[in-house]
Assembly symmetry: D3
Amino acid sequence: MAIQSISRCFPVLAFVIAVHPGLAQLNSLTREELIRYTAGNPYERFPDGRPKVPAALLKQLEGLSSEEFLGAGTRGSIHFVNGFQVLTPGRKLIGRAFTLQLMPLRVEVADPSAAAWKEQGNTRPLNHQSAIDLLQPGDVLVVDAGGDVSAGGIIGNNLSYYIWKKTGAGFVIDGAIRDLEDIAPTGMPGYFRAAVPPAIHGLMVTGINVPVRIGKATVMPGDVVFGDREGVNFIPPGQVQGFIDRGTITLIHDEWTRLKFDQGKYVSSDIYGRPRDPELIREYEAYLEQRLSPEAYQAYRKRLAQPPAATPARPQR
Amino acid sequence: MAIQSISRCFPVLAFVIAVHPGLAQLNSLTREELIRYTAGNPYERFPDGRPKVPAALLKQLEGLSSEEFLGAGTRGSIHFVNGFQVLTPGRKLIGRAFTLQLMPLRVEVADPSAAAWKEQGNTRPLNHQSAIDLLQPGDVLVVDAGGDVSAGGIIGNNLSYYIWKKTGAGFVIDGAIRDLEDIAPTGMPGYFRAAVPPAIHGLMVTGINVPVRIGKATVMPGDVVFGDREGVNFIPPGQVQGFIDRGTITLIHDEWTRLKFDQGKYVSSDIYGRPRDPELIREYEAYLEQRLSPEAYQAYRKRLAQPPAATPARPQR
Amino acid sequence: MAIQSISRCFPVLAFVIAVHPGLAQLNSLTREELIRYTAGNPYERFPDGRPKVPAALLKQLEGLSSEEFLGAGTRGSIHFVNGFQVLTPGRKLIGRAFTLQLMPLRVEVADPSAAAWKEQGNTRPLNHQSAIDLLQPGDVLVVDAGGDVSAGGIIGNNLSYYIWKKTGAGFVIDGAIRDLEDIAPTGMPGYFRAAVPPAIHGLMVTGINVPVRIGKATVMPGDVVFGDREGVNFIPPGQVQGFIDRGTITLIHDEWTRLKFDQGKYVSSDIYGRPRDPELIREYEAYLEQRLSPEAYQAYRKRLAQPPAATPARPQR
Amino acid sequence: MAIQSISRCFPVLAFVIAVHPGLAQLNSLTREELIRYTAGNPYERFPDGRPKVPAALLKQLEGLSSEEFLGAGTRGSIHFVNGFQVLTPGRKLIGRAFTLQLMPLRVEVADPSAAAWKEQGNTRPLNHQSAIDLLQPGDVLVVDAGGDVSAGGIIGNNLSYYIWKKTGAGFVIDGAIRDLEDIAPTGMPGYFRAAVPPAIHGLMVTGINVPVRIGKATVMPGDVVFGDREGVNFIPPGQVQGFIDRGTITLIHDEWTRLKFDQGKYVSSDIYGRPRDPELIREYEAYLEQRLSPEAYQAYRKRLAQPPAATPARPQR
Amino acid sequence: MAIQSISRCFPVLAFVIAVHPGLAQLNSLTREELIRYTAGNPYERFPDGRPKVPAALLKQLEGLSSEEFLGAGTRGSIHFVNGFQVLTPGRKLIGRAFTLQLMPLRVEVADPSAAAWKEQGNTRPLNHQSAIDLLQPGDVLVVDAGGDVSAGGIIGNNLSYYIWKKTGAGFVIDGAIRDLEDIAPTGMPGYFRAAVPPAIHGLMVTGINVPVRIGKATVMPGDVVFGDREGVNFIPPGQVQGFIDRGTITLIHDEWTRLKFDQGKYVSSDIYGRPRDPELIREYEAYLEQRLSPEAYQAYRKRLAQPPAATPARPQR
Amino acid sequence: MAIQSISRCFPVLAFVIAVHPGLAQLNSLTREELIRYTAGNPYERFPDGRPKVPAALLKQLEGLSSEEFLGAGTRGSIHFVNGFQVLTPGRKLIGRAFTLQLMPLRVEVADPSAAAWKEQGNTRPLNHQSAIDLLQPGDVLVVDAGGDVSAGGIIGNNLSYYIWKKTGAGFVIDGAIRDLEDIAPTGMPGYFRAAVPPAIHGLMVTGINVPVRIGKATVMPGDVVFGDREGVNFIPPGQVQGFIDRGTITLIHDEWTRLKFDQGKYVSSDIYGRPRDPELIREYEAYLEQRLSPEAYQAYRKRLAQPPAATPARPQR
């Protein structure tokens, strides 16, 4: 019987890809290259080398919002993109980036790519579904279609349903989707540039799990994707824990700030950004210590005492 | 008493218009011309020649979405327009196009037009309300104002209320509306480019029930209008039945696809676009036959067996 | 104890500002100037000269919508702006304008401004929070940032919370906000151009309670702000009462119009804009008289009998 | 021999059109209708009723610019459109409007239109060249393609060469052209929205010499077209003489103004808009009288003495 | 005789303004304030306090281009604006900013402003020409109309002629001009957003020689204006000399770089940004010393030896 | 002596790249891959596998324009992009594509890339100049910066001078340039999105001579670049000869068409698109045969006699 379960078919495909890197798509990274370019990942990896930020860590991100860690204009290597239509405002998109790169079709280029794909033992043709078939729970499909919404909807109601069922996460598509009328009621998170009736056409796959550009962001396979009403952030795995730590402080700070505002006794700058009155400072620190675990508070004080890690204005490379 | 019921006054007006075609508006179609240019209509017609797709057929469209019949980029003569503000996302707009063409006012052109209108026995002045007064149940008011939102709101809370009460359908306005604050809570379907406070000004009526251009669509009087979250489709009467037939198949196909995805055993391309495994194919065909009536299934198989009707890439005319 | 209540600290600041006008910000109005340029205000004033339209009058605006007084394209000095993102569609923004002008930072200009601010006895630095600290109940913060959304979010979750608590009104920001994810659920009214993660940067305060330009509107301190789904109106205090009077007539007129439409006996132009049949006219006038107080109806008839106040097409000044 | 000269073939076609009005294109005007809607034309007409402003009058327009008659914001029925790419800045486009209306192709509508065209005895198919074949010396081809630049270039190097040779005027195309590389060096005047490689496709002819909308202008067949660096004006024939008269005054006024500025003795408002010093006024009037013919000066004084023709703010029609 | 020469009338007006500061326009700076906010100006001043960068220094700017001093992304307080239509590409605009602020007209605000203007002894009404009358040789008229091109052309052929004659510099208008057809052939430098036929309307003067916002730039009265093909820079007087010094070095550096490229022996990074080969470095330094005066070269080496002046990332003020 | 000639240093670098493919940039193609994906190239290749269309063939393209081969909407794999600012309208850009891909900088990704580049023996850092140093005569630098003009000018006056000297061709930059004031007078061909003062910043090299996306075009290394006033075409090497053959026919056809139009005897459709009169057809064919060589004419007739090569509407890959 030809039908295989997902769990059986996937490792086989992954293996094949690992053996013949770079032949079937124009752009590709070997396992070795993927590890090299995501060397800052402190967690385990998928068989193909993609970082696998633990699910438990992803879960902790749910209470945060992007501002809580971005600070005032300092964003390091956390890239942010907006200008999307947001499928379900109020529901955050959190997961690991699985990237797909599409470029305008050139037949004489796509043909050798298709031939190589077949030589690798694949029985289904190479197309955008080839990437969707490889999605794992917790993955976010990130599609670089160069923002072109005239090439039709890259996914519709059926594939978005599959993605939702399979990943529990969602998608970021720098291009169009279709079947918005059917997808909207599902309540899944998704980001896209437009919804149009025609299906995908005139594009070819040029890379799966390669670095892609989405607006002004560079997205690496395995990046943590964090989307809210404003847009989508792509976070290197090595920065996630720090994000959560600082975000937790910010949440408590905002909580305390609002409690003080509720008292109606202060003008805004008595309390926010930070209190200056010594007694208010003491009150805030006590509140913070009580809300954090004692260890977390000590760690926070220690971080503050250190000089900030140098974040030089790097020259263009 | 001067007040006439709508049902009494309309045929009289229609009669007058049929008798003196082309005098009161710059552009107009005689009954003969309207029939000629909508010759593919298989249904009955209004007294002025406009196709009257049966209400029962319109009702069947409610369960469909635009993608279900558009297919992958092939759209024949079904024109689609987007870029509207959608008054009530989630509520479809379905009805027969009643068109109104407006152009920037030129006094020396509008004056003879107004004089001709009066000569025809009309006691109220020729303006955009002249068209609204002619709306019938099931009509969709389609206004070509060239996308100009600086000419004020073509309808406001009172006229939109009248349209909603009278037609039970809604409106498509390639221009602005006003009174959005009052209209939004009604839940009626409507498509427009912007909402602005000023009322309509600086425009003149140049045609009622003539072909109009809405974005990249040509709309004929009597077209079936189908609007959803993505935009608005204009469907020639002769294509509606085929739309419903194919759409029903697609609905069942999607239903089956999702059922298989729910089983969690397949990657997306095992099932979608279509299964390749013989057993899955049999399973799908059986499902389809059972969900369709036997006659519908046979008709569907027969259609598939025929070569597709030639849809040549026509030269520009 | 260093903490002062808002009621205690505000008059002190206001006093200081009144004493040293025009020194701390580049643009400023003395109390005398503010009174001169808002001479049409018939109501009391704040200590700094800003008109204080009575809260009871603001309350009466709630039932109206902008079209009810704007009429067909004649807008006098009531300026309207749109193109905003509306934080809470369906909830009107009503209050008194408190203006803040920001311009791109020039250090050598901002430094003497900061020095002057300090010389005036202010202990907190001059920045956008200086204006927020001065807000009073019923105020709407109106920020002219020239529409620049690349300068970060001028307010975020904490300051918007403060504004909501303090004013009970909301904000109009011709620039960006941040923390949309946290602000959206509050249900407060607000108008802004975009929501972005970074905080405000690269701007300097150039005026507090000075005339500002928001899109194509000039906003004076103390203007009545009226925002709905379409956009925001700025109304000179001297015109508010007339707005309410005419708006009330319009509301009743629309009420009657819909009642007639509900009867299904009329085409739209039998009833709207106004009936022409003598009996219908009588019916409408009786309805209007009954719904208005007798005095209000007499005043309305008297206004109609007068020639309209000349509203000449003024030359550019 | 089958080849006919232009002069022989045109009257035949015109005759055919006059006999079967409104059959071949969706929109059309009979000779009678065209005369009715351009009743203000004081000059002779083409056989099909289109106004024929004398060539000598068109010649007098060459020295003017659009501002010279538009005045400060009062534009009556002279419609102005901008946003074009200007083929040859510095070379004015002056001539009589010959209009062509194109709409997105619907096969089932274009087929009966093509059939009717053939029934009228035409041996070449109905397409955009049908209109170009009818152009006369002094005509400006005005094409309403709804601003759609994705439908390809409506004319290229060959047809623009033909137009230039035949009309000596040029074109206004609310859509795209192609072959810009070849057309640019010819130095002919032309206005278009974009230049793209593909040829025209997906459009159908819906009217020849009917009223068309170009941006926010309504253009009537026979309007005088006047294009300069800023954009294109469409002038009703009945207003051309007045335009020339007022424009001549303005030219002399500007001449005198600059002469005075050259003296370096005045600030701008001593002289412009008009002098206030009695001696300067006398000097100006003397200059004007000397530069105009005595009759023209008397006529000008007489016009000034009359109350201005009422140009009421007309209600929307 | 009522006609006064420009040189006689200007000081009188300036005096009047100095005596009654802030009464006639909504925004205004006293002489004292203008000096305070431009304290970094090392040169003499106009009677009203506006910095007067010497003409000889302005002359030296002619050989430079904006990149020569902007460096790689570090722009300090030199603000740059683009997006203009450039009247005469290839001709630089260099001069001292004379600012004019316009806002949308509100009659009840403009009336007291006009009254105050008259009380000050002005016999001509307050309007945009009031500012133009005050222009001095070397001034650049900088008009903040908020980018609104629907308010008509702020200057036309006559006023632009006056400006060109009087200042020898030109204009920067964040709004529209008119009469482009006449202005273009003059060859004067000018920057504007659009050219439209109607004259200025619906605006009022709210400030003369006050800080204005042009796009993302803050412009102070007396700033040096430097416009080229890319856009317009506004330079604080205190930075001009440094700009010239660094720009001269850059010009020589580019000269040498091209000479080396002309030899065809090097790849680009052998030479540019800077040579690394010791011999090439020596060659370059010798070239630079020879082309600069010895003093200038020593001063340059000394500057390099110093640590760079701190340019901290300043907090928002 | 450390200075090497260009001819000496280039082969060494090329060798190094061929040996360690894919290590230094995120995306890269081995020589083997580059040959595979450009298999249709009938000409010789550069050492790294890039197709090298002969210079003599490039020369023949000079007389053509893009429309001459694109035909009416059928574009095969020849991709066209517009929306650029054209540096020197009227001067064609013709050469072989040398591609450079840039993405927004992520430090933790750029660092391992820089390390690998150094390991390969490169002494200069990896940046955009690394690609410029590799340019050969006849190359066109094609930079994919994702259209981002906020990342500064990728090249300025010095590097553009180098490119012009070295290649004799020019550049296509989907991003910004700087120093437009200096570059414009050189008369070199170039295409770019904007000109801005700041230098390149915040980008990293992610590929040299890899497939890139420029707008809606996919560009392969070695493509023939053909730019004119309308935009830029990218032509697979295997299609260039056919382009020239068909373009030559079109040139002669247009020549003949204009000669006939010059006679003034025909309406446009007598002659264009093609004559229908048998005698005119004979005349045209004779003209064509005489202008082409006899062999070329025979080959052309033979091509016409064959059925067109199938250009199926390919499914999305």
